[in-house]
């Protein structure tokens, strides 16, 4: 039975269902219950934006608050994963990678390979990413390319409540370390989500919009919140007769290269929309993939629509300019459609 719930609720429900199903699943993070040692209510916070709210009451002893020591507690989640638990640890903002990156990329990600295939490290690092909340340079980054670059990590970036639930359930059941990146501007977005548990496999992109009558002029690959921006742009473009196919990779590692390449082979035109900084980004990754694998089908330059090579600014006027919008996406699409080869 599907109901309309928010992205935040979908994430909460995924964790709750997996905790009920598998007692090895535990949750930890700063104020994930909230109020450890404090005189007031237990479960006073449920995480800084309330995503884990209520889990503490349902699963006493399995939702742990942590001190502000990301290396120690993210590392503890990694260590616990090698010891038979399946921790879901929250790194509040992906921007805080800088104080615990070692435990993620040199430890969790590399154990299996370094140890000759003999380690299994089923840890999920939930973390908030993306711009838009006026949270400025240290709380608004994407950094998805940084984790996608690392062999041994899987990276998930759901763009809607349905995917958030299904992908998180898969992440928790998955035997490899997973970075589960929740876009902070999507928490309050609602969508239809089945009550029952379901897992969405990794590496399977979602074609969120097909062209019209099996035809599309351009392929857009968009990540996270940019899927919505692309959808809006596509509506506009459709009214001027341009048909866009939009692919949401859902997981950036593994990446569903087949679906992307097949679409580009059909359309001959690719626009990648990614709010991250541009250099060595997901946008370059996907563009380079197409330029290597389906060059013969390309009929126009591959356009990247990304944030600029700057930190994320605070002022709303600037942040709105930083984040790719429908105008920029539509302009990129028009450029490739108008391209004369």
């Amino acid at each position: 039975m599907a109901r309309s719930i928010t992205y935040r609720e979908a994430i909460n429900e995924a964790i709750a269902q997996e905790m009920a199903r598998d007692e090895r699943v535990i949750v930890m993070g700063e104020d994930n219950a909230g109020g450890a040692g404090s005189p007031g209510e237990d479960d006073a916070w449920g995480g800084v934006l309330g995503v884990t709210k209520g889990l503490y009451g349902k699963f006493p002893g399995r939702v742990l608050d942590t001190p502000i020591s990301e290396s120690a507690f993210v590392g503890a989640a990694v260590g616990a994963a090698t010891g038979g638990l399946r921790p879901v640890v929250e790194l509040m903002f992906i921007d805080f990678l800088g104080v615990c990156f070692d435990q993620i990329f040199n430890q969790a990600a590399k154990f299996r390979y370094m140890f000759g295939g003999k380690a299994v490290t089923p840890v999920v690092v939930r973390t908030m990413w993306g711009a838009g909340l006026r949270a400025a340079a240290q709380h608004s980054q994407s950094l998805l390319s940084v984790v996608t670059h690392i062999p041994g990590l899987k990276v998930v970036a759901p763009s809607n409540p349905y995917d958030a639930k299904g992908l998180l359930i898969q992440a928790i059941r998955d035997d490899d370390p997973v970075i589960f990146a929740e876009h902070k501007m999507l928490y309050d977005v609602s969508g239809d989500v089945p009550e029952e548990s379901y897992a969405i496999p990794f590496g399977e992109a979602n074609i969120v919009r097909e062209g019209s009558n099996g035809h599309a002029d351009v392929t857009i690959v968009a990540i996270g919140r940019m899927v919505n921006t692309a959808l809006e742009a596509a509506d506009e473009l459709a009214s001027s007769g341009i048909q866009v196919e939009i692919i949401d990779p859902r997981t950036t590692s593994p990446l569903d290269t087949d679906t992307i390449l097949e679409s580009v082979e059909n359309t001959g035109r690719l626009v990648v929309v990614d709010e991250s900084n541009p250099r060595c980004s997901l946008a370059t990754d996907i563009a380079a993939l197409a330029a290597q694998e389906v060059f013969g089908s390309l009929r126009a330059p591959i356009q990247q629509v990304t944030g600029p090579h700057t930190p994320v600014p605070f002022a709303d006027s600037l942040e709105d300019l930083f984040i790719p919008d429908t105008t920029r996406v539509a302009a990129a699409v028009k450029t490739v459609v108008d391209h004369v080869g």
């Binding site: 005189p39 990301e70 240290q138 600037l318």
Partner: protein
């Protein structure tokens, strides 16, 4: 080496110095109360963490500092900025995201800085400041300019590896650094009695070979005295000190926090411990200042803060021309 709460006398401070200290604390208080109100109207974007209740710490410490000296602050940085002399007009405009802000609207509440004043920035990363302060202290030491550098950080930050490493580094390099642990009892909703494995943060000083002292953070004079000792020692080449300042923050962790994790400790603090009240009682009781003098400061400050809000609201926002500038000194 760990001391306890002291009741320090006000004796050695001149009336002017006392008025300055009061003005600073009152400015911080008014600034924060006003930001609290403005935030509620929805005009201020982003995350805002208020320092109200903690004024005596920034003020007591920074009253010993001059332009040779540097401080690093936290996400809760407005008080440190004001105490180190950053202009409130620019600060208020920054919080509103305006081009006239201290950081031209690019930083916001969590990143206000003014390097010309030795204010090395609020910091969005818990534990981000202490390493930087080791560097500022090193620079002063190598240049021999007599400067000291102060890292303010919270009880929560006292568990962060970056902070703990910095204590060790400052100690073995014998740096003119001061570490001010502002223990307001909570990191977000988490109690410091739970998150800090020792009774007092000051106990950690011994683990890093430096003196540690605890002071009543509602008492400007207590902070002032402890900081004075630490600053003097640092200037003389005697190395770093850890000062734990204990008090309560008056507002939520950030604006919007419902504070279900605590009861009415704030009311008690506001009524009975408040640093401004304590200060007033002490200096009028001793006859060093009069109520009239203090009231006049209150007036002046209220006017200045009100003006800062008016100016901030009227100021222009940064625009397209500003997006790409200021990333590098030079590029390409």
């Amino acid at each position: 080496m760990t001391g306890t709460l002291t009741q320090a006398p006000a004796a050695e401070l001149t009336p002017d110095a006392l008025l300055d200290a009061y003005r600073t604390m009152r400015t911080i208080r008014d600034f924060e109360e006003r930001v609290h109100e403005e935030f509620a109207t929805g005009d201020i974007p982003g995350f805002v963490h208020l320092y109200a209740g903690e004024e005596a710490s920034a003020t007591g410490v920074c009253s010993h500092l001059d332009l040779r000296d540097a401080i690093a602050s936290t996400h809760r940085g407005h008080g440190h900025c004001i105490a180190k002399g950053v202009d409130v007009m620019g600060m208020m405009a920054e919080i509103f995201g305006k081009l006239t802000g201290s950081c031209r609207g690019k930083g916001g509440s969590m990143h206000i800085a003014d390097l010309s004043k030795g204010m090395l920035g609020a910091n969005g990363i818990v534990g981000g400041g202490p390493p930087l302060i080791c560097g500022r202290a090193l620079a002063s030491k190598l240049k021999g300019d007599g400067g000291v550098a102060v890292a303010f950080f919270g009880d929560g930050a006292s568990n962060q590896g970056t902070t703990l490493e910095s204590l060790n580094l400052a100690s073995i390099w014998n740096l003119p650094a001061i570490f001010v642990a502002e223990n307001n009892g909570y990191a977000e909703a988490t109690s410091s009695t739970w998150s800090v494995a020792t009774d007092d943060i000051a106990d950690r000083a011994a683990a890093f070979g430096m003196p540690g002292v605890i002071v009543d953070g509602f008492d400007f004079f207590a902070v002032h005295e402890a900081a004075g000792e630490a600053v003097a020692r640092a200037r003389e080449g005697g190395g770093p000190t850890l000062i734990e300042v204990k008090f309560t923050r008056y507002f939520g962790h950030f604006e919007g926090d419902q504070q279900l994790y605590r009861a009415d400790e704030v009311r008690n603090a506001r009524e009975n411990l408040d640093c401004l009240k304590v200060f007033r009682a002490r200096v009028t009781g001793s006859g060093q200042l009069t109520d009239d003098q203090l009231d006049q400061v209150d007036q002046e400050v209220a006017t200045a803060i009100a003006a800062s809000v008016v100016a901030a609201k009227a100021a222009p926002k940064p625009g397209a021309d500003d997006l790409l500038t200021d990333v590098y000194v030079s590029y390409q």
